[in-house]
């Protein structure tokens, strides 16, 4: 089977590009506010990577525009001189989405961080892309409103980055991703035109270009204003941890919850190995030795939450839950979440090395997929721990191994690949929430056929025929792909229980 069509190869082929010359620098300097141009080599080096430090490219120039007009003017210059550009927010992405392009420029949006307007009655706000995710909620908190998507890095990641990655968070099961909370975008096209995508209402007329741009990882243009939806803070939040005799029964409990019409704010699952690791790292009060545990959180109107919380417990018991622990106060609730979020990094406590996999499967196939993973694990003679967002079938098998044992790393890598292929086979996905970026572009071929990729490349070319806007990201470049992924190293934020890899 061919991986790429001829058309795809042509669409993503590198076109001749211009060079960042002194004359170009001067032209850029003329269109941005004073101090908006960074060109000293030492300074440029600090922009050579985002949160994924394994890939580094020093940009030729960094521009920090202050307004939509400045962004558009810079992009127009890039288009005219055929200079590639990469938009950057806080630079916290873990997939290298803001990795600069050699001989290209970085357009940093860190200076565009104003809340432009808040419409309390209609629960909307217009913000610039450099406002942090948590900053939006903080700014409207006085009106008892908040911005629902809650990626774990929300105190620092910007709304512009959330739009690029279509970020979710632990509560996206109930509330959806960024795309469900963005009404309109002011968008600078790769030729420098300023257009509005979407509108004030959730109902879009014609093709929803706003949705096309959302999650495109900065490959279609630059978003300079975002109209976000704001939600009322829930009146009540309840959280429990239920233990189960096996993962299959825990999986069935999740299916029963959904079948009963309950929409939990979050449903997370940990297996025995994951629980062991978490407890060693954080002592969050999970039951050691329990083969599986579900964390279920409900939020909403007090009366409804109370009633549904009873039903959740009943469903858990009906599915043979052996123990239910209810978080009595916000402190205990935070402890439960800390344990869950530390799970990945905590693997270091039970294994010297491990690969993390990031797959999505249809929720209905949870039980059977877990059984298959266990069979594969037994056959390979390697332990596999599982931590995942059970509610939306986002699996995280962790293949534990010891690199000191000759051949075990290769064996583990092989098993990890086989597991992710199993996810794809089950109708799922290889990609998680932290994006494709530079890191996973080459893996796209595992999920998408030649025609799929060609259609994506056509869409991209329709927006950006010159291929200047964040080139080399998301869509695989045939010439560069074929590298093998390295072993998983925990990000210290994971160890601290602050972020989780989805």
């Amino acid at each position: 089977m061919t991986t790429y069509t001829e058309e795809y190869r042509e669409l993503v082929a590198e076109t001749p590009r211009g060079a960042v010359t002194a004359a170009f620098r001067e032209e850029v300097a003329a269109v941005v506010s004073p101090g908006g141009l960074i060109s000293e080599p030492a300074q440029l080096h600090t922009y050579e990577c985002d949160g994924l430090t394994g890939y580094r490219v020093t940009p030729a120039l960094v521009v920090l525009p202050a307004t939509t007009e400045e962004v558009a003017a810079v992009v127009r210059l890039c288009a005219r001189h055929r200079i590639p550009f990469v938009a950057r927010g806080a630079g916290t992405g873990l997939s290298g989405g803001a990795l600069p392009v050699a001989d290209g420029i970085v357009i940093g949006l860190a200076r565009m961080r104003k809340m432009l307007s808040v419409d309390v009655d209609n629960q909307r706000a217009v913000v610039q892309p450099g406002v942090t995710n948590a900053g939006i909620s903080a700014a409207v908190g006085g009106h008892d409103l908040y911005f629902a998507p809650d990626p774990s890095s929300q105190i620092v990641c910007t709304i512009g980055g959330n739009v690029a990655e279509n970020s979710g968070g632990a509560h996206c099961l109930k509330y959806g991703f960024t795309t469900n909370h963005v009404l309109a975008l002011t968008f600078v096209t790769p030729d420098g035109d300023v257009v509005t995508l979407g509108g004030d209402s959730t109902d879009q007329l014609g093709p929803d270009l706003r949705a096309v741009v959302l999650g495109s990882e900065g490959t279609l243009g630059i978003v300079t204003e975002i109209t976000v939806r704001l939600l009322r803070r829930p009146e009540a939040v309840r959280t429990l941890v239920a233990d189960f005799p096996d993962a299959e029964q825990a999986g069935n409990a999740v299916s029963d919850l959904v079948a009963a019409g309950i929409v939990p704010a979050a449903v997370e699952m940990l297996d025995e190995l994951a629980i062991e690791a978490c407890e060693k790292a954080v002592q969050a009060g999970y039951t050691l030795g329990s083969p599986a545990a579900l964390v279920v959180e409900l939020d909403g109107v007090e009366a409804e939450v109370e009633e549904e919380f009873e039903r959740v417990q009943e469903i858990c018991r009906r599915n043979a839950s052996t123990h239910i622990r209810i978080a009595g106060d916000p402190v205990e609730r935070a402890k439960v979440w800390k344990g869950r979020k530390a799970a990945f990094a905590a693997m270091g406590r039970i294994s010297p090395d491990y690969f993390v996999q990031d797959g999505v499967i249809p929720r209905t196939k949870l039980g059977s997929t877990l059984t298959r993973i266990r069979e594969m694990s037994d056959a390979a003679g390697l332990r596999v721990a599982n931590v995942f967002h059970a509610g939306d079938g986002n699996l995280h098998p962790l293949v534990l191994y010891d690199a000191a044992v000759p051949g075990q790393a290769e064996q583990a890598e092989h098993l990890a690949t086989a597991i992710v292929e199993l996810c794809v086979e089950q109708g799922g996905s290889i990609t998680g929430e932290h994006g494709v970026g530079s890191d996973k572009a080459c893996s796209m071929v595992k999920m998408f056929g030649p025609d799929d990729l060609t259609v994506m490349a056509r869409i991209r070319a329709a927006f950006d025929p010159q291929g200047l806007c964040n080139p080399g990201k998301v869509l695989p470049t045939p010439r560069l792909c074929g590298e093998r992924p390295g072993p998983y190293r925990p990000h210290p934020l994971e160890s601290a229980g602050i972020i989780e890899r989805l």
């Binding site: 960074i38 949160g51 630079g91 916290t92 860190a110 961080r113 890095s153 934020l493």
Partner: protein, 472 residues
Amino acid sequence: MTDISRDEDQRVSVQPVAIGNGAGVFDLHHPPSDELISDCVHCGFCLPTCPTYALWGEEMDSPRGRIYLMKLGKEGKVPLDDTYTQHFDMCLGCMACVTACPSGVQYDKLIEAVRPQLERNRRRSLTDRLFRGMIFALFPYPSRLRVAAVLGELYRRLGLRSLLHRTGLVSLLPRRLQAVEALMPPAKLRHLATRTPAVTLAVGTTRRRVGFLTGCVQRVFFADVNQATVRVLTAEGCEVVAPPTQRCCGALSEHAGREPEALDRARGLIDAFAEVEVDTIVANVAGCGSTLKEYGRLLRDDPDYADRAAAFSAKVQDVSELLAELGPVAERHPIEARLAYHDACHLGHAQGVRSQPRDVLRTIPGLQVTDIPEAEICCGSAGIYNLVHPEPAEELGRRKVDNVLSVKPDALATANPGCLLQIRRYWPGELPMFHPVELLDASIRGVDPIAAATARSGRPRLDARTAEPGSF
């Protein structure tokens, strides 16, 4: 060994700079360690709390970017030029990033390793050297500060100040001198002759014998804070010993990278306290206290002082830490007011002392202690920062004032004189400002300084529940 030091005052014998010696652009005298640098995983969680990132949104003026620059410097990939130096100079050293970092990166140790390197290996401009020289020839010397205070008072009382301001002549001064002019605190002449007694006995049972650091600016311009500290400590059962031989603790020098000077002062202070047998050494200035706690690290290479310095540091407590630990015994009288508490960076971030000052203030009946939004962001005072970098300091000062205004306090409390002067400079009108220990002292003595100050200024007390926005 070759002496490559250029500044006569900052002579340290070090190896010559050469790429490939493992330290890149740095010399071999404690360059920032690779291990500490590699702890940073570039996650960016420090960005929102960094004051310079908050101002400019530039990567190289963020903790993450500065650590990246250190790494580049270590690798010898960038020259040690003005561009490189400026980004470390711009760092306020507030250590908010240390608080924010989930990976436990010790940026404090990193920046404190870089600053002496820059002081040794990079020549500043003549005006910069002169200005810094003036600061360090004045501030660490209480006797010289007293003279300056008298001159300052004459400048005020003879009407020169109002003349300069009325005519706008003050704006002709260089920005840095304008900053000095504006920040210079009014001195109470009666305080200039005040000295803290060498020993003050505890009231009632002696619960602890404590050594007391009287500070430099503190003892000249804020002598009443020192007096209040002694009164509160003794009222709470402490015998207070203030060795009269004590001189500057070296905090300002240390934070500015003037390592040899800082080390000399540290040794001097250790010697001054060597005579007295105390359980605890108390500081009431956040910046001084944080440096005292660092003596062990600062003098780690000095065989004669390393152990003594470590033992000294282990005894140091901020006055609020000690009071919180001892628990109240003296009776408190009510002070009915809404008080904004401002965390001094060198108390909150550098020493991790946040709950104790609040807890101690809450022992005062009627006092409503309120936090300030963006509490973690520096007010721009930062040692000598508001004198050497007046522009960013002003932006941060105004930002802090806006945040304090937003909680509509009757008064403000903070444990650092620098913060107090900085906030006062940009405050629109009059706000009673205190060291927490002054309020405690007033409460123990049964007076209400907030009501008194409000009555004096004729400004009606703001009631947060009824006041309309913009009533200031």
